[in-house]
Amino acid sequence: MIDRLRSVTGRKGLMAFLTVGFVFIVVAPTVMSDFRLNLLAKYLCFAIAAVGIDLSWGYGGMLTLGQGVFFGIGGYSMGMFLKLAEAGPDGLPDFMSYNGLTEVPAFWKPFASAAVALPAAVILPMLLAAGLGWLIFRQRIRGPYFAILTQALAAAFVILLIGQQGYTAGTNGLTNMTSFFGYDLNDPVNQRTLYVVVAVVLGAVFLLARQIVSSRYGRLLIAVRDGEDRVRFLGYDPTRVKVLAFTVSAGMAGLAGALFVPVVGIMSPALLGIVPSLELLIGVALGGRATLVGAVVGTVLVNYAKTSLSEQIPSGWLYLQGALFIGVVAFAPRGLAGLWEAISTWARRRERRPTPQLIEPAAMP
């Protein structure tokens, strides 16, 4: 098992991975309050989605501004399962009764079973991304055009959810989810367990992404990003390469959404529209595109800053967010990872340089 891990991370990487894992799974739960740990669990959910975004944007050059859609499909799949599990005696989730529905809609019914809902949270986003990606990439639509398409998708998805209030609970979204497989979600002990689950899933997602980017396919993905046309003349079909990365990233976003629901207890259109999709992106940009560690660190930092700043100055976050984005684009296009690299090269060079000899003032002309 350890050997397998080492083959994915490398020796130094394995040490770092295990250390960080220890900090997150053992240290964090012992030193953090229930409230803060729950927040960290939420950040880690976003980090799972961020790793996926890094795959498609950082490595594959596909700027996806609609990752919230996949996050939302995952979240709603889980939410539907939880709502049905705690529905009243008539089997109807609360908001459906308020909206005058008398029967559970047909498309809700399969989600009553965990065996359907949990895989669906990952598989549905992947199917959507694969179909959409195939249509878009085959037509050689890329760059800003692809970005705008995904953004439009996010906007349309929100409109659909809000419009179908009886089936989706509209703007309010799915709320009042209190138990998860019979465990009370308001019990701090269960929330702590849930945190560990999220941290472990993030670790697994990270390793999967790591394996993908260090394989030959990972090199190919970078090649497609840097010269899609050239890749065609090497005998590869870039459409397939891009669809695969986009699909995997959608699956990760779906998984993140599914974990988000029991952690936070809500899933609503406000969590998956254009703005939340962009917020996921900022974490990746800040951490450094095409570095998986950067995506995780950037996302956790951005969300931590968002929480703490919103606690101090409620309206301050939006300004900081804007400034952050401009700052990264203007001064650190490769994000924190790029800065870190620049600093360590600079430090190494300084070390190597011989100490300058003092020149006697008299010797100077």
């Binding site: 090199r219 970078i222 090649a223 003349f233 090497l234 005998g235």
Partner: protein, 252 residues
């Protein structure tokens, strides 16, 4: 035997006939140079053969199979390789990674998802052939212009194409780099058919087996280097008098 047969090819861009009813055949084992003034349609012809543009008429047969209407990567898989005027290597990948990617193009996606272990013999051989063994693990972006061009030739070599189309392989190279590229080309031509688009006449004289001159989307003449050089029409086209003459003819 003809490896490549282009018949009656038409490529029209917005009403402009870039290729105008062109016939072009290349025999197996030939080293054919394709020359002509700027705008003659040389690159457009290469693009049409490799699926980069969609011709409006005619046929392109490669080893008796039709190439028109196929996707670029399918044509490459059939055994037609090409290079571009500006070297198009992947700058953020290392030299070895560039070559390895080129060599793995027939791998199914499932095997591509595995990690590369070490360097295959094909790649090692290609590294030596293009004189880049010392820079094997360097990012391709920091190579010199000439080295990038060689890396690109190396990437074509590992794919073992039957037909190789090179678009200005020595453009922008120093004299020493040209000589080295010529030697490389000589090596390549031993076992495969090569079509080279090139302006450099000295390079052409040294390495061409036969020459095709294009002008305004048509073939002007074809033959050995000596024949083409002795052709008065070719001299006129290159000295820019061809157009004036035709205008006079029309006026008369």
């Amino acid at each position: 035997m003809n490896l490549l047969e282009v018949r009656d090819l038409e490529v029209v861009f917005d009403g402009f006939r870039a290729i105008d009813g062109l016939d072009f055949t290349v025999a197996e084992g030939d080293v054919r140079f394709l020359i002509g003034p700027n705008g003659a349609g040389k690159t457009t012809l290469v693009d049409a053969i490799t699926g980069r543009n969609r011709p409006d008429g005619g046929t392109v047969l490669f080893a008796n199979e039709n190439l028109l209407g196929r996707a670029e990567h399918e044509i490459v898989r059939m055994g037609v390789g090409r290079s571009f005027q500006t070297p198009a290597v992947f700058e953020s990948l290392t030299v070895v990674e560039n070559l390895d990617l080129a060599a793995s193009f027939r791998m199914p996606l499932r095997s591509l998802l595995r990690r590369r272990r070490g360097v295959t013999e094909t790649v090692t051989t290609a590294l030596e052939a293009v004189n880049l063994t010392a820079s094997a693990s360097v990012a391709a972006g920091i190579l010199s212009h000439g080295q990038k061009q060689w890396l690109e030739i190396g990437m074509l070599l590992v794919q073992e194409p039957k037909l190789l189309l090179l678009d200005e392989p020595v453009a922008g190279m120093s004299p020493e780099e040209r000589t080295r590229t010529g030697e490389l080309l000589h090596e390549i031509a031993r076992s495969r058919t090569v079509v080279v688009v090139e302006h450099d006449m000295e390079f052409l004289r040294r390495f061409a087996r036969s020459v095709t001159v294009m002008h305004e989307g048509k073939i002007l003449c074809e033959g050995s280097v000596a024949e083409v050089q002795g052709n008065p029409q070719v001299q006129e086209v290159y000295l820019g008098r061809g157009r004036d003459r035709r205008h006079t003819a029309e006026a008369v």
